[in-house]
């Protein structure tokens, strides 16, 4: 089952997403028997939404969200939701906020 997710790229991160802060995406399921998790969403973002390959390192480091980017799942710290293992549900709002940009 695919899921519909609202994405937010904040704190200056929008620069690598066509300067657009808010996006709605449908993440297609890869395998009918396993539910989609946040790791799948991150892969989807990297594969489909970051146009310039040089920008990937702004978002990803060592295969995960770069330290210094705050990830919230429905306004809750992703550290409390299992991080990449979080099972996505349609309607979820996932926000990524850079804490590294501009002082």
């Amino acid at each position: 089952m695919s899921v519909n997710i609202k994405l937010e790229f904040l704190g200056g991160l929008d620069v690598i997403f066509n300067s657009e802060r808010y996006h709605k995406v449908t993440v297609p399921s890869t395998n009918a028997s396993t539910p989609l998790i946040l790791r799948d969403l991150i892969k989807y973002i990297v594969d489909n939404m970051i146009k310039d390959p040089k920008d990937i390192e702004v978002f990803i480091e060592n295969d995960t969200i770069r330290p210094g980017i705050l990830t919230l799942i429905n306004d809750t710290d992703w550290e409390l939701e299992g991080e990449e293992e979080y099972v996505l549900e349609s309607g979820d709002v996932i926000s990524f906020t850079s804490t590294l940009h501009g002082g």
């Binding site: 330290p67 210094g68 809750t76 804490t99 590294l100």
Partner: protein
């Protein structure tokens, strides 16, 4: 910490009733939404507001930062830290009756595409928070914008120029308003980063001072302080996010020095493994007491020429500049601009002289660069009223 009374609605919201393990460790009634980096405590939004605000209040009172009736300027850049600072200062001032008169003070460095947009944010904050705003521009003070300086002197030293000019601009702005205390949004991450940088560079003299919450230097009539000294960047950003504060987050067109960037990267990676390390580094810095140094004789030798010209100037993250440690004579002022200075002319005037000379040279060489052109038209504008 006192425990807040659980919300009366806490139980009735059956549809999203959190599991016990998901409950806030502070009020035990609402769902935890934040994991605090400093102690890994899981707390809800409401408790987060409370602890975040209270801790800053405690920092302020423990350090005796303010006195009733004091006029305080918030150095406001439109960025997340200073936006949250302006909001919190107003909030705490009202909640705890500090009796402060708060003003927003912004510096316009003249960087198109960056500062013009961020100043628009500050102007919105002025309305949102109902605080007076004063903007001081490099162009008015020095007759140079950062864009012109970079075109003339290159991008490599942009932050050096910018830092020297900003320090003086903040002082002048504050003095114009009759204010002798500027608070800035420097947070725990910034401070740990600075400690780390000074350590890595072997800058022992600055290492000792880098954790001071308030700096009063003889070279400046205005003191600076950092109420966010113990506040994590992560929590400041979360606070801004939850409270929907309006801040600006574009990087300066002239990227900050590479070394700081690398130190920041290192800090973030350390924090990911051990979040408390930010406060731990500050703690280490605070407890560092240096051996009294005995290099007087050497300094004298350099100084005997009469006017000591510092060979090197370094700019800290807050825009302040290192003054040659010894030999500052109280009451000395710059011959050119009247600003406090241990030397005959102040650092800003020295840099300005260099810029003027450079521009003259460019003109002589027939370089019709836009700097020359822009400056020339401006001079003409001024002439023709």
């Amino acid at each position: 910490m006192t425990i807040t009374t659980p919300s009366p609605y806490g139980q009735s919201q059956a549809e999203t009733k959190p599991k016990l393990s998901q409950l806030c460790e502070h009020c035990h009634s609402r769902k935890a939404q934040i994991k605090r980096p400093k102690n890994l405590q899981k707390i809800c939004k409401e408790c987060f507001y409370e602890v975040f605000e209270t801790e800053i209040h405690n920092t302020i009172t423990n350090a005796n930062l303010f006195h009733p009736g004091e006029k305080v300027a918030v150095g406001a850049s439109g960025g997340k830290d200073s936006t949250v600072l302006a909001y919190i200062m107003k909030l705490l001032n009202e909640r705890y009756n500090y009796g402060l008169e708060i003003v927003l003070l912004s510096i316009d460095e003249g960087i198109i595409g960056y500062r013009d947009d961020s100043l628009a944010t500050v102007k919105r904050n002025q309305v949102q928070y109902d605080l007076p705003l004063e903007i001081v521009s490099y162009r008015d003070l020095y007759d140079w914008t950062m864009d012109e300086i970079v075109a003339c002197a290159g991008i490599r030293n942009s932050c050096t120029y910018c830092g020297v000019f900003r320090r003086q601009a903040l002082d002048r702005g504050a003095m114009k308003l009759g204010i002798s205390h500027v608070v800035t949004g420097h947070n725990a991450d910034d401070m740990a980063e600075t400690v780390l940088m000074n350590l890595l560079r072997g800058d022992v003299a600055r290492l000792e001072k880098s954790t001071a919450i308030m700096t009063e230097s003889k070279g400046s009539p205005v003191k600076r302080s950092k109420p966010f000294k113990y506040s994590y960047q992560k929590e400041i950003v979360l606070y801004a996010h939850y409270k929907k504060l309006d801040y600006f987050s574009t990087e300066c067109s002239y990227a900050p020095e590479a070394f700081r960037g690398t130190a920041r990267e290192l800090m973030k990676n350390l924090e990911a493994i051990r979040p408390s390390c930010i406060l731990d580094i500050i703690h280490s810095g605070e407890n560092l007491v240096l051996k009294p140094k005995k290099q007087r004789t050497q300094f004298r030798k350099n100084a005997k020429a009469g006017s000591k010209v510092p060979t090197e100037m370094e700019v800290r993250s807050d825009g302040s500049v290192s003054l040659t440690s010894a030999g500052f004579v109280d009451g000395n002022t710059c011959e050119k601009c009247g600003y406090l200075s241990s030397n005959k002319i102040c650092k800003a005037c020295m840099l300005l002289e260099g810029l003027e000379a450079n521009r003259a040279k460019l003109r002589l060489e027939g370089d019709q660069s836009f700097v020359g052109a822009a400056k020339l038209t401006r001079t003409l504008e001024n002439l023709s009223f």
